[in-house]
Symmetry: C2
Subunit: 122 residues, 2 copies
DNA sequence: CGATAACTGAGAATCGAGTATCATCTCTCC
DNA sequence: GGAGAGATGATACTCGATTCTCAGTTATCG
C-alpha cells in the first residue's frame, strides 16, 4: 500500500546521507521536490516512533536523525560546513574515566575539525 | 578598583562548580543574591571576551561555561539531573578514526548516564 | 558635594526550532 | 465517479534562550 510518498522521499534521502542530518539540512537537500518542512518533521517523527530512525544530539544544539540500522559509531563534525559524518570504530579506556558511584549507560565521541571537501576548498 | 561586584559573584560561582554551567543553572545557584539573569549573561559574555571563561557545547543544546584554566578534560552528563561533571583524563585511539583528508583540531567525549547523587536518590 | 561613567535588574523584544492548524490533494475501495 | 482516510504544504503559533532597553544605583574623581 503505497502511501506517504513524500515521507518515503525523506527517508530515502536520509538513507543516502553519509551522516546524521538535521531537519533543516534534510529539507534543503529536498528543495526542488516541493516537500514542505512540516512534512520533513512529520516523517522524522514517525520514523523515530516506528523504530527505523534514531535521533542524535551532537555538540551545538540541533537534533539530527539517521537510520537505526547502523553499527555503533561516532561522528566527525566539520566546523566549516557544519555537516556531521559517520565514523565507524570506537575508542578504548572510557570506563576508567567514570567516577565512583556514577553509572555510564552510553557515550558519545565527537571529533571536530575540517572535512575533506572544506579543507580542499580553502 | 572594585567595580562590577555582581559580575565577580557570577565568576566565583562558576569557579566553585564541579563542571560547566549553563546561564540558567548558574542563575539558579545565585538565587538569593538578587543577581539578575541579564547580569549573568553579561558576565559570561564578558568572561569569554576577556579570555577567562570558555563556552562549552555538549549534547542536548544549551551552551555551558567554565573557567578556561582547567586541564584538558571531558564530561559526564547526568540524564537525570542534566548536570555536567568534569572528568579528568582522556582516551586513546582517536586519530585512527579520522578519515583520510579530514583534519581533526579538537575532540569531545561525553559519557552519559546517572550521577552518584541521582543513582542513590532512586 | 556634584558630574560622569560603569553596572544593574526587570521586563520587553527578538530569534530559531519545532508544532499545530487547515484547506487541499491523492489514494483506495467500492 | 464518489466517499472517506490519510498525506501534504503553507503558514500561524508556541516556547525557550538570549539580547536589548531603560531607568535607577553605585563607584570614582575632583
Amino acid at each position: 500500500m503505497q502511501r506517504a510518498k513524500q515521507q518515503l522521499t525523506v527517508l530515502q534521502a536520509l538513507d543516502a546521507a553519509d551522516g546524521p542530518l538535521s531537519a533543516r539540512e534534510l529539507w534543503s537537500r529536498l528543495s526542488g521536490t516541493g516537500v514542505g518542512l512540516a512534512t520533513v518533521y512529520r516523517a522524522l517523527q514517525r520514523g523515530v516512533e516506528e523504530g527505523m530512525l534514531e535521533s542524535v544530539e551532537l555538540l551545538g544544539g540541533g537534533v539530527r536523525y539517521e537510520p537505526r540500522n547502523r553499527e555503533h559509531h561516532h561522528y566527525f563534525l566539520c566546523s566549516s560546513c557544519d555537516h556531521a559524518f559517520d565514523l565507524f570504530g570506537c575508542v578504548e579506556g572510557l570506563e576508567s574515566l567514570v567516577p565512583d558511584g556514577f553509572q555510564m549507560t552510553r557515550h558519545e565521541v565527537v571529533l571536530l575539525g575540517t572535512c575533506d571537501a572544506c579543507a580542499n576548498a580553502g
